[in-house]
């Protein structure tokens, strides 16, 4: 499998990268881990005349724990999301999503930014990021802008990212005490799979009465983009967590999704599994709070 010919740039700063993006427009493709781009270039699906390696962008490689937020550089390896103590301690659902992504070999190349920008409906990281209320930082020559991740995806492979922009970081508010989150995925194989469905949930309980103060539920592979399950969220908001409630939320989530039948799975099955998955991730989230 040969790669087509292209020019190669390795900018040393975000500014330099943005300048290249502006100059060459649609003909340039940013290269982070390459686990998507290289495959698509070999298949001839994309044919950039210039590849922009993000390898030297040091500021995009860090995970920073700030006062109220956690900032994850877009080029952070998925493997690093698993190994990093800050992620393990504060964003366990993201760690679970990272563990479910690809294989160890892929996780050693793939980046969090790449997983977001490729905008696959079944991607493993977006559901967890969505339930943590993640924001993405998009840079252009005009400077950075911040977009809520839930507003980022437009369709399969499509996002609000402009041709002259680069996703440089992901920002998340540090979850408060009394909160928990979980991620689950369902595939054919146990690993290295493209999920038939995946999902995450985040719960924050009111410390006084134990009711659900804040809730987010997100699902993947049941719509053209990773989605928030707003009907499920409504069913949960302000309620006291219980098995019955989680079952109801799972049922409500079926109305949130619009799955398709493709060669990987049927719409009816996906819909049915939405309930199971939502109930189970809620249980995981609750268990974490109780821990």
């Amino acid at each position: 499998m040969l790669l087509p010919k292209f020019e190669y740039d390795e900018p040393r700063s975000i500014e330099e990268a943005c300048e290249t993006l502006r100059t060459f427009g649609e003909t340039v493709k940013p290269l982070a881990g390459g686990t998507d781009l290289m495959v698509n270039m070999k298949k001839g699906v994309v044919r950039p005349s210039r590849v922009l390696s993000l390898k030297k962008l040091k500021t995009c490689n860090r995970i920073e724990k700030l006062d109220a937020t956690i900032r994850i550089g877009a080029c952070t390896l998925v493997a690093e999301l698993i190994q990093n103590q800050v992620i393990a301690d504060t964003l366990p659902a993201l760690q679970a999503g990272a563990k479910a992504l690809g294989s160890p070999l892929i996780r050693n190349l793939a980046t969090i930014g790449g997983n977001i920008c490729s905008a696959r409906p079944a991607a493993d990281l977006p559901p967890a990021l969505l339930v943590y209320g993640a924001r993405v930082v998009l840079h252009s020559q005009q400077g950075p802008r911040t977009v809520l991740l839930k507003d980022f995806f437009k369709g399969p492979g499509q996002t609000v990212l402009r041709g002259d922009e680069l996703l440089t970081a992901i920002e998340l508010d540090r979850p408060p005490a009394n909160s928990g989150a979980g991620y689950l995925n369902l595939g054919i194989r146990k690993v290295q799979d493209i999920d038939i469905i995946n999902g995450a949930a985040y719960l924050a309980l009111n410390p006084r009465d134990g009711t659900i103060e804040k809730v987010r539920v997100a699902l993947g592979a049941v719509a053209p983009t990773p989605i928030r399950a707003s009907l499920a969220e409504q069913a949960l908001q302000g309620q006291k967590p219980s098995q019955d409630l989680f079952v109801q939320a799972g049922q409500a989530a079926q109305q949130d999704c619009t799955p398709i039948t493709d060669f990987r799975g049927g719409a009816a099955y996906r819909k049915a599994m939405t309930s199971v998955l939502v109930r189970r991730v809620l249980e995981t989230a609750l268990k974490q709070i109780e821990k």
């Binding site: 499998m1 040969l2 294989s103 369902l186 054919i188 194989r189 146990k190 690993v191 290295q192 799979d193 493209i194 038939i196 060669f263 990987r264 799975g265 049927g266 099955y269 049915a272 599994m273 199971v276």
Partner: protein, 787 residues
């Protein structure tokens, strides 16, 4: 303790140090100076007439050295079985599947070759395509081959005994229908080759093949070169599983391109091409009806099978016969009727894969036997034991079970899995299942009708006697055959394995039909044993003369000459040996006479000491049409227990444990035997659980990569317990027989039966995806509610 010095042990394989260090050369690791790269143009349409092929733009591209089409190479028909040579290297007037070969290019590098292929302009006239058995057999369906009307590659109609009369005395008659899915071999090494046409008019083809001999014959036939001018060599091969067991278009195209350019030509297949060009397992639709008496005695089996064949025959005739014949055993069954249909359609052709033709049939039947056992209130083990054949029994279709350790296999897996403690006592969602199976130990007949020896072997002593060189044309494809033959030669000769060097995979070394139908250990093993014994005899003959000791009073063991009676004075021989090796520091002193000394003396007396061996099966049973498929000198057999856990909410299955016992006759190398069992189970698990080559409505493979076509990963495989059961196979060398394919037979039905035990619903379609399990369970509950 084993009575043997070398075999029946766990010696490390000869090839693995090279493979563990990256030294071992596979096809893509081989290059020649001035080598060109080839690429093939494949049809984008499933069925179309070819109006015109314009290669002029491709020819003009700088760096292109040759462009060939049917006009250049002719339209000699080839295939696997001479009874159905239905392919030409390149399509001349029509293409029959997406991937059908139209032209090939040789250029100075890969990029140029691929670009040139894209410049070849073909005008097609699209024809209606048939993409399934049903479509192909429908009234007025488009026909693929004018010579084979009705889109039938082959039909089989057999009856042994009287099935109808049998049913009349039955207490229970059970019918079911079962379908598997097209499986890809998914060997990790995509096939490739390098053809080198030399200045003497001889062609050497290096290829990633299981069958150098058949490739040699096909290349000779299609190119018109004499067989003697075609040499086929295989380097190390990254797995074959049946799919590399016939000549392919890639190999033939490389040969023609090298002949045209006079330069070496390398041609590799991409992973995507593997899914199109490589002929893997068929989809089988089985309809079976079995009749039994209430004590569990099997009486009659009526069986109908449809094979979704694809555009050409490949192995298809053999496959459709195997799908019926391999149900003749291992149970005593007097009456068996089989109607098999192998059907053409506009998808890539299917061929042979591990457990050729028998895997889905076995799955369907062993599942049905489980249903029968349940209905009769019998334990599945008891039903099988009740009907089990004994060594020496002959099936109704004339398969002679010359050795059969099936009962012992059943006993050991029953104990090893703690079946009795678990069966019927597991919580909901957990299940345990079992099944049996067997497979040929080498096809009784070559693929082309011939009286040829199936293999020849040469054992040659180095002139100092320190090394025995074993030459065969057999194919080491990862199964460990080189090591097995080294061990057999060492045992037969009486020397340690370290004193044997094994060369194989080269048609210049002899005739060997190759690595398919689990034949090499038994067949090539015989030839190697005979050649080694020949060498030993020659050495002992010279010694006999020199020492005046009768040959029968001497033998060789562990590299020493053993005198059965009084030890003669051999000091004169030793002096002569030492004289021949002046300056050597390791000359023998006080030890007994060594094989090395004896063979040096033999060399001095006779020149090269070369022993030869050969093998073909004795007259095998079966005079009916199709008896050649299924008859074998021996049969290996397996029993298996699988334990599963099913997530009843999602349908996800976790295989918790697999226990397999296999009777391989005498195990030449026990570690290798276990390796074959473990690999078989893994391939069976993949077919049962995940694997399916999928097509779109235009006949294109949707999942032509190893991401979307899912074979088991290390996490999907449970711990496997393998138990090697040894019988003494009278027709095998040292009592050895097959293990490479028999062990896959029980895997799928054992999983099916375990899943049933866990969920209470029978599934009659593979693979057992979560969705299929979930839906089946839901449907069952709906039906329950309704009734």
């Amino acid at each position: 303790m084993s009575e043997y010095d070398v075999i029946n042990s766990r010696l490390s394989r000869l090839d693995t140090p090279d493979k563990a260090t990256g030294r071992a050369l596979f096809i893509d690791d081989i290059s020649f100076s001035n080598m060109l790269y080839g690429a093939i143009l494949q049809s984008p349409l499933p069925h179309a007439g070819i109006i015109n092929i314009d290669t002029s733009a491709a020819e003009k591209l700088p760096g292109v050295k040759a462009v060939i089409t049917a006009k250049d190479v002719g339209t000699v028909k080839y295939g696997v079985s001479p009874a159905r040579y239905d392919e030409t290297l390149f399509c001349q007037d029509k293409v029959r599947y997406v991937g059908d070969e139209i032209a090939a290019v040789a250029a100075v590098d890969q990029a140029t070759a691929q670009e040139a292929v894209s410049l070849i302009k073909v005008d097609y006239e699209e024809l209606p395509a048939v993409l399934s058995v049903e479509e192909a057999l429908a009234e007025g369906a488009p026909q693929l081959h004018a010579e084979y009307p009705g889109n039938y590659t082959a039909q089989v109609h057999q009856e042994f005994g009287d099935v109808k009369a049998g049913f009349e005395i039955c207490d229970l008659i059970k019918s079911s229908t079962f379908v598997n899915k097209r499986q890809d071999a998914a060997f990790i090494e995509p096939p490739g080759c390098v053809a080198v046409f030399d200045l003497h008019g001889a062609l050497t083809l290096y290829s990633s093949t299981q069958v150098p001999h058949y490739v040699q014959r096909t290349v000779a036939m299609v190119t018109g070169l004499p067989v003697g001018k075609v040499r086929v060599l295989k380097p190390y091969v990254g797995g074959g599983f049946g799919i590399k067991a016939s000549a392919n278009a890639n190999e033939l195209a490389a040969c023609f391109l090298s002949m045209k350019t006079g330069r070496p030509v390398k041609m590799n297949l991409s992973r995507e091409q593997v899914f199109k060009l490589c002929r893997a397992r068929h989809q089988f639709l089985h309809k079976m009806t079995t009749g039994v008496k209430k004590d569990g005695t099997l009486v009659s089996l009526e069986h109908e099978c449809y094979l979704d064949g694809g555009a050409y025959s490949s192995f298809g005739i053999a496959t459709v016969y195997y799908a019926g014949s391999l149900l003749g055993g291992p149970y005593k069954l007097q009456n068996m009727k089989y109607d098999g249909y192998r059907v053409y359609n506009n998808k890539p052709p299917c061929g042979a894969q591990r457990g050729h033709g028998g895997v889905a049939a076995r799955a369907a039947w062993e599942q049905q036997l489980d249903m029968i056992a349940e209905e009769l209130g019998m334990d599945p083990f008891d039903l099988r034991l009740k009907n089990m054949m004994q060594a020496g029994d002959v099936t109704c279709n004339d398969l002679n079970m010359s050795s059969l350790g099936m009962e012992e296999c059943l006993q050991t897996v029953q104990d090893g899995s703690e079946w009795k403690k678990k069966k019927g006592r597991l919580p909901k969602g957990k299940g345990i299942g079992m099944a049996c199976g067997f497979f040929v130990s080498g096809a009784g007949y070559p693929i082309y009708r011939s009286d040829t020896y199936h293999c020849t072997a040469i054992v040659k002593l180095a002139e100092d006697g320190g090394l025995a060189q074993v030459y065969t044309a057999s194919a080491e494809i990862g199964q460990g055959s080189d090591t097995a033959f080294g061990m057999i030669a060492a045992e037969a000769l009486g020397v340690p394995l370290s004193d044997v060097r094994v060369m194989s995979g080269d048609t210049d070394m002899g005739v060997d039909l190759g690595a398919y139908s689990s034949r090499q250990t038994l067949m090539t093993g015989h030839a190697v044993k005979e050649a080694a014994e020949d060498v030993k005899h020659q050495v002992l003959e010279v010694l006999s003369k020199e020492l005046s000791v009768p040959v029968q009073d001497m033998s060789i063991k562990k590299g020493r000459v053993v005198f059965h009676r009084q030890e003669p004075d051999f000091s004169e021989l030793r002096t002569r040996y030492i004289k021949e090796h002046r300056g050597w520091t390791d000359n023998p002193k006080d030890e007994p006479l060594t094989f090395r000394e004896a063979s040096r003396i033999a060399y001095l007396a006779r020149g090269s000491i070369v022993g030869t061996g050969k093998y073909k099966p004795h007259e095998l049973g079966g005079k009916y049409k199709g008896a050649a498929v299924g008859t074998s000198p021996a049969y290996g057999c397996s029993a298996q227990v699988v334990e599963v856990e099913v997530d009843l909410e999602t349908g996800q299955i976790r295989i918790e444990k697999m226990t397999d016992a296999h009777d391989c006759g005498l195990a030449i190398n026990k570690t290798s035997v276990e390796g074959q069992m473990e690999g078989s189970l893994s391939m069976g698990l993949g077919e049962a659980m995940f694997e399916e080559v999928k097509f779109d409505a235009r006949g294109r493979v949707i999942n032509a990569d190893l991401a979307e076509y899912k074979i088991p990963t290390a996490v999907d495989m449970p711990p496997i317990e393998t138990i090697v059961v040894e019988s003494n196979e009278p027709n095998g060398p040292f009592g050895a027989k097959e293990v490479g394919e028999g062990a896959i037979m029980p895997t799928i039905p054992a999983i099916l039966n375990a899943v049933y035990d866990a969920v209470g619903v029978r599934i009659f379609e593979l693979p057992l995806t979560p969705e299929r399990i979930y839906t089946a369970v839901q449907d069952y509950h709906e039906r329950q509610k309704a009734s």
